[in-house]
Every structure is written in C-alpha cells, then in structure tokens.
Symmetry: D2
Subunit: 433 residues, 4 copies
C-alpha cells in the first residue's frame, strides 16, 4: 500500500471549522453532507470533515473567555481514547463512536473525515489510564513537556513502542469507524511564537508514528497536517509521510491573506505531486463564523473568490469549503464548480509562474495530453489594470491559435500572442489556448 | 519594608541539592544543620535550604529513568498547596508543614529556606481544587500553556487577581511555617532550549507576584531566582523584585565551568548591591551526588576551591555550600571559612577587573573604611605561570606599602608595585595592601 | 596614566553635528566656542567637538543624494592620514592640521575634540601609501572586508603591529595638534542591519588599538565611542578601554526617542563610574539641522528638555549640546545651566529607579557627603497626572524633613513622605530632601 | 528567447578552480580542453570554464598570506571592465580579450565559459572611470557598502539604469568574445557569516540585471550562480533568472561533505527542471590543488566517486569536473563516462527518494518513454551492509521483471521485488528494471 495512492488528485470537500468552530453537531454534519451529495459531489467534492473538539463536553460554552476551555471535561474511553460527545453526536452512544455517522456519509456516496489534536489527552496521563495493547499506562506515553501552545487538551507522545501503541490504538479505532481522512492539528508547525525551524519541526516523529499507524490499518486514510506554515526545507519529509500539509497559518476571508498566498504558492509549486499536496487551507466563502459567536458573510468579493479558485486549482491545492453549505449563494457555488477551473488541479499539469510584481501575477500550466494551455492573468493591485502580456515564449504553438475565455466561454482566433486585457482589481482573467 | 534590607550581605548557607537531589529527608536536614551550627555559623553561614521536590511521594525512586517522575503523586492540601511528604518529613504530619522543622533550625540559631517550582500543581488544576481566598478554582488560575521544560509538576500562573491569590496563599503559609528564604525555580530563565530574551523572560510577572506575596507577609523572606543565566539587559528588574538571581546554568565541579564564571562575573560585577546579588550558584565541594545515585568526591582541587572562593567573595555572590556537611574535609572547610576572604563580600567593596586573558585574570577591590586593597591574581591556565603585574595605577598609596599574602599571612614591605608571583595552575594569589 | 583620570566627571561640551552635519567650518567652530566660553564654561561645559568629515573636499555638496559622497576627494597627508580641508579650515594650511584651531580653543579656556571614523582611508589603501614608522603600506594595514555600512570613507584596520603603527601615527598627530577628545565613529556598534552581538562587536580590537595609541601619547585624551547601542554584555570591555560609549542609536528631538531612554538608562545605570560613562548622545536643542539642508527649531518642549536634563544628569551621561549656540534661546539655556541639576552628575551619587510604568518613572539618588537626596518624578504619559509616591522607604531620614523644589526653589517641611504632585505631560518634578 | 532553452540538460564540462585556483593560464586551458575534446566530449562534456581572477596581475604570488591579494593590480579597459591578464593569456593582447581563446575552444567542438565576481572593480570606482553607454562614472555605479566578504576585488552595483549599463557593457563584451557560460560568484548566497535569508539574498537585483544583460546579447549564455547554499525559499527566483545555482558551500573531496549532499539533494530534488538546475558543485576527482600550493590526489575512493556520480546524475545536477584532465586516472574516467549513469540526468526523470537513514539511502527514478526504472541503493555508513529493500510499491510492473546491475551489466529475472544486496561502505548499487 502506497500512501500516494490514497489521493490521486488534491482532495475536495467540506470542513466544519469556518462556520461551526468547536460547536458542530451530528445534525449539522448531516445537513451539510446532504447539500454536498446533492449539489457538489458530481464536481468532485467528497470529504465531509468534522473539525476540532468533537470530544469536548462544554465546547463553545465560554466563548467570550476561551476558544478551548482549559481542563474542561472530555469524552474518553477506558483506554484514554477520545470519543465523540454523545450530546452532540447522539449516534455515537453506546461506544459506537463515529461509526454510524460515517456510515450515513458513505451511503450518500461521500467520504468521512475527522480532525484530531496531536498527542494523548492530558486527562488520560493524569489518570494513568491503560493503553490498548501496551503494558504501560498513558502517564508513561505522554511527554509532560510537549504541549500545544494554543489548545490545552493533549500532551505530545514519546517516540517509544508504547507511544506507537497509543497511536495505533486510536487510528485502528478510526479505521473501524470508517474514517477516510484524518486532519491532525498541532503537528505541521508546532511553534506559534518563535518558529525556528528546529522548534517548529520538533514533533516530526509523531507524523511518522501516525503515518505508520494508518498504514497498519490497511485502510486508505488520507493524512492531512495542520497548521502551517510548513517548512519548505522539509518538503521531502512531508511528501514521504503525509498527503497534505498546510503552507500557511489559518486562512480567512481577507484580501491581504489571499494576496500573500501568491508568494507561498510560488515557493511550493514544484512540490505538488500525486498524493502530495501543499495545502492552502479552507475556502472561507458563503456564511461563516456562527460557532465563533459572530456569524458573518464572507468578506471575499466574487472577484476574489475567482482569484482564489484559479490560484488554488492551478497550484494544485486541496479544496476544502469552509462555508455553511445549505445557505451557499449561487454566485459562489458557480465559482466552486467551474469544471474548466477544476480540471487544472491535476498534479500532472505542473504550473509555472510567468512573472509576479506587486500588481500583477501571471501563471500558466500545460495539459500535455490535450496539448492545451491555461494562462491566468491576475490583477492583484487595488485598481483596474490594463495588462499587456507577451506569451510568445510560453505558448509553444504555431500561430494562429484559438483562445477561450474560461468565464465567458468566448473563443477568438489570434495570430498575435501579445495579450491585452483589462482586469478588475483582485480579479483574474483565465484563458485556454 | 524594603526587600533590600532582607539581606544586607550576600546570603551564606547550605543547600541540599548537590548531595541529595530530590531525596532529602528531615533527618538529613537536621544532620547538616547541626554541623553548620557547630562549625560554620560563626563565619556567617546561616541558611539551611531544602531543595527540590520535598512534596513528591516517590521522589528518587526511578532514578535511572527520571530525575522528576511525570505524573507522580504529590502531597497537597485542600487548596492545591504543596506540603512536605510526611514519610520523609515526619514532623510535618497533621498539617504542620515545615513549621516544626523550621523551629528546630531556628533554635540552632540558623535560618530556614525552601525551594519551590514556579506555578501551581498540575494536579490541582486537573482536579479543579479551590484557591484560598478566591472564588475561582485552580483550573482558572493555571495557565495550561505555561510549563517547565524539565520538571513536570506545575503549570504557570496567570497574571490575574486570582493568580495573585494563589501565590499569596502559598507564601503566607510559608511565612506561617517560619520560612526565611525562598528559592524559586523555573523563573529566572524559563527557556532552556532557544533562550531568546523574550522567551526566557516571559514569566516575569510571576516574579513580581511572588515578590508582592512576600511583602504582604511582613516577614523578611529572602527571594532567590533560579535557574540562570539571568539576562543582563533586565538586571534592573531582578534588582527591583529579588534578592538573588542566578547568572549561570547549574554550576558543578568542573574546571571549564569555573573558568567560564570569570566572564560572567566580569559582566555582572557592577550589579552587586545591598540586597541585590547576582548568584554564582552553589559551591560543589566535599561529598556530592548521593541522591543522584552516584556519590562522588568533588572533582575540584584545593587550588580550584581557592579560586572559586576568592572569585565568589570578591564578586559578592551568595555562598551556598553544596556538600554533605558532616563529612566535609578539613582542607575545604578551611577555605570556606577564611575570614579575610569572606570579608571581601561586602557590596560596598565594588570590585574591578584589572585585566583578563585566556591565561590570567587580576581582580581587585578596595575597602574604603580600612583603606585596604585586596588584589587577586588568578592563574586560569593549565600550567604554572610566573605572573608579572604592575599595580602602580591600581593601588593609590604612597610607597612603601606593606603587602600581606592572605594564605600564608606573610607580610612584606615593598617600594615597587610591580608584583612577581609564581602561581600554580587554576590557583590564585590573594594579596592585601 | 589611568584613562579613568581623563574624565572624573561626565564630559560636557558642544558638538557640531546636530546643526552643521558635514559642513562645519573653522569660523563656525570659533563662533560656537566663543559663545561657550562666555556663557557656558562656568557651568562645566568645556569640550568643543568638530564632528564628521572635516577632511572631505566636497562635504555637503550633494545633499539631496548623499550625506557622505562615495569616492569623493579627501584631504590626506603622505602617510594616508586624513587632515582638515583647508578650504573650510584655513588655519590648517601648510601642514598645521587642527593645531592652530586647538590653540585658539585652548586660549578660550576650553578643550578641543574631533570626530574620526574607525579605520584607514580607502584611498590610502588603493594608493598603497606608506604608514609612518612601518615597513608596510596602507594596502597591507587595511582590511578590505571591513567597511562601515553607512559611510564610504574607510577600511577597517587589521589587528597587527602595522595596524597599531597606523593608529599610533594618527593619534600622535592629534596629540601634537592638542586634541583633548576623540569621538570615534563606526566602532561601538558596527552593525546597523542585523545587530547580533557577535557582528556588532566584531571590531573590538580597534577599540583596544586606539586606546593604546592614546596611552602612548601621554596626553589625557578622552575617548568616546559611537554609535550605539552598545552591548550591555560587554560593558566591562567599554569600561576598560573607553571613557564614553553610546547606549542608543542617534538621538534626535522626538519624544518617543526620549521616552525610550528611560529603558536604556534603567539598564545601564549601574555601569556609570569615574572615567566610565554610558552616553545618551547629544542634546538636540535650540536651532538644528542647517547642514542637513533643512534648518529647524528643536521639537522638544521646555518640559521635555527639563525631563532630558534631569534624566541625563541623574543617570550620569555626558552632556554634549547639539544646538547652534549663538542663537540659543534663554529658556533652553536656563535648563542647560541649572546648577542643582548639574550637581547630580557625579558618578558617586549612584542613582536608583524607584519604579517605572508606561506613565510614570521615579528615580532618586543620594549625595552621601551632603546627606542630600534628589528625587525625580517623571510624567512620561501624554496627559497631566496627579502622582502619588510614597518615599518612606527611600528617604532614610527621620521626620520632619525639608523638601526643596529644584525649579521653584520653594522649600516646605513635611512630616509625611507620601508625595502628591500634579505634573504636566512629559515633564518632571525634581525635589531635594 | 527563453533562458531555459540555453541548457536543456544539466550542463557538463570542466572548471579550472579545483586544480589551478587563481593561477590558470591559456596553455593550461588549452591542454585540458584538448583532453576533453578527445576523451570526454562524446559523453556530453562540453564547457571549458576559466575560473577566478583571470584578470589579476599577481594572482597566486603570495599564496601563504592570501588567496586573493588585496588592492593587487587588475587588468582593466578604459571602461572599468576587467580583461584577461596578458601575461597568462597571451592571445588576449591588443584588446582581444578571451576572443581568440574562445575561438580555439569552439574549434575543438567545445564551449567556452568564464567566472566573474559580482560587481564592478573597486579600482574603477576609485579612479572614477567612465561606463560604456552611460553618462555616469564607475564611482556612481558602485555601491560602496556592498562588498564580497572573501574577495577584495569588487563593489556591488546599484540597482539603477547606470548599473544596468555597466552589466550590459561587460556581458556584451563577453558575448563578443564568444563566451557561452558565465559563472557569477558572490551572488547566490552573499553572506558567509550570519546567513540570514534576508542578508544572503540582498543582492538579488544583480542576478536580475545580469540575466537581462544576457538576454539583450541574443547569445544563449548559460548563467550559473555561486556560491551556495542557495535559499530554497527563493527557488522560484533562481528558476526565473538563472540556469544553475549552487545548493552547497564549496564542495571538496571529503566524505562528510558528500554524505551531507544527500540531505541537500532531498530538499532540492523537486526543483530540477529544463533550464533550471540546482548545482552540487564541481566533481573534485583526479589530481587537485596545484594552484593552492599543495597538489594532491583526490581523497575520494572509487566507491565514493561512484556514489557521487549516481547521486549527481539521478538528482540532475550539472557535472563540472574539477580535476587536472591530462593526468586523469582510468578508474575515475570510467565512472565519469558511464552512459547508463549519465542517461539518468534528464530533468524528465523526476527522481524520488524511497527512504534515507543515517546508514542507507534509496533513490529511484523512472524513464517513462522507455518504461524503465533506475534504483540506487546507497550505503552511506562506514561499514559493509547487507541491505534489504522492498521495491514492490515502487516498481509498478507486473512480475517477473528483469533487473540489470549497471556496473556489472549482469541481468537477472526476478519474481520478487524484495532486493537483497551487500554493499561496500560509501558505495552504491545501481539497478535498472
């Protein structure tokens, strides 16, 4: 079994975090999954991911003070393994875990994913709980000096056979539930204050342990690492053990963050490969933030969503929608499901950046099988721009050629590859040759 | 009450760590205290300090694996305050804490000190114990992201009124026991991996909180900060809130560490003042290390102990003996109790470094009241050296002058201040003019 | 000869930079010196310092492009020693150098100082000029990889006997001219981009070489190091070889810079000693900036000048006026010459900081001989403040005591050391007990 | 013209540095070129590169003191452009520059390359020489604060039109000489002391200026950047403007350096593309070091050379031989010319690392056109190892398959992809499937 075969294209799906934060329920998951099955799955969206703290009893109950309540009650089995909070996930009652929910998702033709925090529950260590298939208790597996800086739930796990036994115990349980996707948090870049490479990468052994636990299950579970920024120096490491790794801090609906992704994509574009996806993070579109106590409509304009989708797809990032799906507006949905744009996602298309300035960026890629080029001309400035771009050296075709505008579907034939286009601020012109 | 009046001279005493590590008992303390009362107190040694983990049930029981057993059992009262392990400290039974032991120490004419770890017990937080004189439990006072990197017992305390209430609750208990000296650990330099100034100083608020808790007791408890190296940029801060602060990592009986102290003393010498003592750490002499499971005799030679005593005293460091006192050899004892050397400790003598090379260092200081100079000529090289040192500009006296050799008590009169001395490796010639 | 005897009090005087930049002439120097002799010398001001590029032919002629013209013509003797530009300093003609000007300054009862750049002229190296009393030419003395990052005139000097010969050759020439003060630039902190300690201190050997060259002259030339910030870790080094060292970058007439000095003074206050002065930089008062092509009146208010003078004096900084003296306004002059304030400058007064917040700072010092205390209550906030300050523990006197307000000369007797004062923003209340 | 078309495969050739250092002559160049034409060119070796200081009059004459004599005489034309030293390069007399030598090299069917230092000669700036096609002299083009830390010849060039004019003036001259390859030094990583990313990349504008100067000539001059390590974060930048960039410091014949290249190749392997070659530096084989005054035979064993060639070729590095070619031993020559190994160099083969430990590394790549795999099993430990390596998931072929040992040419058929091989220390087993 080769982990690269678990995801031959950049994964697509939906994640509960941007809308629900720590408060998502089984009903919420099903409601969004149903929307996906009906409206998005035909375009390739398939993963439904339950994000952070599905195991926390009081999640979201003290929002003004804490995102994550310290020393709050967590749901755990007798082996120190976190299980869903039955109040929020009723079908998990009686030790069923996420099995029944995963099954429903599977019946819709979708795949089921969960978020986990790196490590073992602090409570399990303090209570000296036994580890499944191990002679040592949780207190010997937990590393008391390894904590997450922003979430109080876990201790890191020692790089020992007993530590591996713990990770095996949770991942085999997830596999038995039917989990298809694990997003592990606090593991890609573990240092959010002084992120020296050494510090940020210090828990690399836990990435390997989780990878090995997944391989032992025999189930092709996609393995996603969070949060970023990943360290490009260690790209070979992420490629070896994971399917996705975040190349940015949390991404939200603010233009400066989106503009900044051009630099990150520039740096990482040569590292996209089958089963190996640098991850630009969720698409914060539609309705957002209910669980954060301040529901809002995405601040991204249609132009910006267009820019985001073209960049994410041409680059080859996974696409995880961060919206409340049932109330998704039509304009956004149209952009999320443009088949031309989505077709650029193949890791075989190996994108190039033609140039980038403070105001413009031009990327292109080539579909060799179809002998087709895509060229994206981004206006990343704050005003309308008349862009002139000489593609003579880029497009290796004899003239004249037919150019198709992906948005308008308009096709023209040209014998001159110097392209003139007027582009709105934060917008993109996407052409096919 | 001014904290500088708590220690008008650099504190002198004994500390249990270098010999007993985490395993010291009441009997051990008393045995060493008796030796001190009988043999050392007349020279100024007075503090008897119980070092780390007097509250830990199984301290020292898994020495080959751990210095500090993670998630081991600790002795705590109902307010989450650590108390002595009754097995090791029988007189503490029945809620007496260190009161009876302190009383015995006091009766010997000595002072009583304890070591504490910064913070609140992790167990208190996980068990949501109440805080004395506070409406909030330990779980609200503990900062779940603030831990010690090398000891697993505590969480840091938040900078809130409730956090102050916790520190008040422990320090007032210590005062009620009769504690005269608190050595707080994991607070002076809290980062032992990548010690940027920002990280290393991040818990400064807990220094202030402990200082304030001490001032509230009305008891003149000397406040000592550990471990080092303290950050010289913040010397003014330590001076304001503490009586002693470590300027080095743990100091042991190895010549390179001792040689290195010349550089540290050079840097800190202007910061010694009444009530304010940069601290060179314990004197690792005599028998050492029983609690570490490998008892040994200090590797320091008599020459090296002489060098250490002269440097520590001229500099103005506290003097905390790290030996097993009852078995202290006579040679060492003689050096620890040389009254000429000890008299240089006064913060009014303001030492100067005349010069320092890889091979030699010359320090001097002036006792203005007595119009007396001390000059120390150190041979810090590894071979015998014939040192020539022109003190003409240093000694502001009209010739001839009388020079006394502090070790031999020999006095000569000279009309030439160019000193010629042959000095053994790692040894020091100490002269009085 | 002991370099500490060259300056038994923090030096006071005037420096041409803040008003003239690189353009100062002999006439300018004399005009300012005359003002000083007549109006300021009785208060202790004595040094008249010719600042940067007195050797440059075209200094100031391309102000809009360059402060320091690269590869511009410099005046040099046959040994590669820079000499004054005769056009600007006519009395230097015929090889007299600054001799005649120094003589005139001395005749006024003042002392004469010059600014130099660390190193040897690049031109001298490229032209292979001989070095006085050395067999090797300038090209062998210059270190081609050691340059100043902001001034293009010099190469650093190698740590060799020939390098010492070069420094000896210039300093003996300065001594022969009658120079009393050398401010050497690009030598205290030599790295203005990524100032790691190692980089910033990399030219320490040139400090030693200049010190030794000065000692060889037998002339008590005060040695001042620039620019800052000096590295507090190396304070012992500056103390050993220099009389003054800058603890800040260039200081100008902006409140945030002045407010920032409270932190720097806090850090360095224990390092002021006879002959050893951490330097807060020039006092940018009165008329400024003519040579920068944009003459302006100091932006400091009278309150701010008062604050600056009290801080600089209580701390023990040198006082170098940066104004155009002949047009100095009376208000500023009054503050520069307050004898009570100036009397606090003695290095024996050893100031303390009582406390400092974002809004207030209280410093005090004690004149032991006179059994007198000075207390300065600074309002460093931006609004009027009613300050309450309990000096009971600070002032070791039996009540009642007489308090004198230094500005108003008003004296009151009080039996309560809790001081209540209303202070204007950026102002200071200075009391004597 | 697209710079990527200048080098469709990683460049191969010879460079004078490793054997001649700064002392190479025209006769030396021709002697080595003749060997190459006769023995190596049929395998693809074609570039003959004259390395550092061909313009220096006294190069190598003070070897015990300096590698590069500071302020030594350089050969320059009237526009401040360095030209070959006629003593060493007689055919360059009369202003012919490297034209005649390049012509001879071309006549041998080879290509001609030169090394340059980033910048403009310091001498040109100090002498205010005119710049061709510019109104401003060299003193206005040179940046006096931009120097090379290890070579004293040049100043960096300002990012101005006049700076571009200077670079245009030298590159057009090189093109007129017939230069096919420019290795620019002190430009890829310009900081050899504290290589922060910011510092090391600070002269990026000079890379762009040289690229643009090359493009203007219309001549396909391969552009190579030195020294390393290049910063992987800026890989997209090097890809845009250069054909080769060093990913390591100077590489010499020491096993630890070679072992270290496994990590560097791991990091950079995804950045090899047509016209874009991360560069592992010269192959230090055969006789070396005559110009360094201590001629020696390469310390690399045959095993190590084999390992180096397999890694460099599978990775896709340029191959520049650093030996004295006329005396090249047969064993080394055989390894440099193995056609199977050389065939792996195509940037289309996209190598992968299967795994790497402290002791072993396994790399593989696939030639899609031929449906052929290469697998390299490296023993990077210091003792013989029996390696077992399961290639089932790597080799996507139905069994049985034929395996060829590249060194022995032996072919076996296997139905089991678990490979067992015994490999000598520092050696490699290379298989073709």
């Amino acid at each position: 079994m080769n982990k690269n075969s678990f995801a031959e294209m950049p994964p697509m799906g939906w994640n509960s975090y941007d809308y629900y934060d720590t408060t998502v329920t089984e009903a919420d998951i099903l409601e969004n999954a149903e929307y996906m099955a009906k409206n998005l799955s035909r375009y390739g969206y398939e993963y439904v991911v339950v994000d952070i703290q599905w195991y926390a009893k009081d999640a979201g109950s003290r929002r003004s003070e804490y995102q994550y309540i310290p020393f709050g009650e967590v749901c755990m089995d007798e082996f120190g393994r976190l299980v869903p909070d039955e109040t929020r996930f009723p079908s998990s009652a009686g030790g069923a875990g996420f099995g029944p929910l995963a099954e429903k998702i599977h019946e819709m033709g979708l795949k089921f994913g969960i978020h986990i925090m790196r490590g073992i529950p602090r409570e399990a260590a303090h209570r000296h709980l036994p580890i499944l298939n191990s002679d040592l208790p949780a207190s010997e597996v937990a590393d008391p000096s390894s904590i997450c800086r922003w979430n109080p739930d876990m201790y890191g796990v020692k790089d020992t056979p007993e530590g591996q036994a713990y990770y095996d115990s949770i991942v085999s349980m997830y596999a038995s539930w039917g989990v298809d996707f694990i997003k592990c948090d606090d593991i890609c870049n573990v240092n959010n204050t002084s992120p020296t490479e050494e510090n940020a990468f210090s828990r690399a052994h836990e990435i390997i342990m989780l990878h090995e636990a997944i391989m032992k299950t025999g189930r092709p579970i996609v393995f996603s690492l969070s949060p970023g920024p990943a360290l490009i120096k260690y790209s070979y490491f992420y490629e070896k053990y994971a399917n996705m790794w975040r190349i940015t801090d949390d991404f939200w609906d603010e233009w400066p963050l989106l503009k900044n992704m051009f630099e990150r994509c520039e740096q990482w574009k040569d590292h996209v490969d089958v089963g190996c996806y640098p991850d630009c993070d969720m698409l914060p579109v539609g309705n957002l933030g209910k669980g954060f106590g301040k529901k809002w409509k995405s601040r991204f304009t249609i132009s910006e969503i267009r820019t985001m989708m073209v960049l994410w797809c041409m680059f080859g990032s996974p696409l995880m929608i961060g919206a409340h799906l049932p109330t998704l507006d039509m304009g956004t949905k149209t952009l999320l499901t443009n088949t031309d744009v989505l077709s650029m996602r193949s890791p075989n298309l190996r994108p190039k950046e033609f140039y980038r300035t403070e105001d413009e960026a031009v990327w292109y890629c080539r579909d060799e099988e179809e002998n087709r080029y895509y060229v994206a001309i981004f206006n990343i400035s704050d005003s309308v721009r008349a862009v002139v771009c000489d593609l003579t050296d880029v497009i290796g075709k004899s003239l004249p050629v037919r150019i198709k505008n992906i948005w308008t579907k308009e096709v023209v034939t040209t014998s001159n590859l110097v392209i003139h286009r007027t582009i709105e601020p934060h917008d993109v012109c996407l052409l096919e040759f």
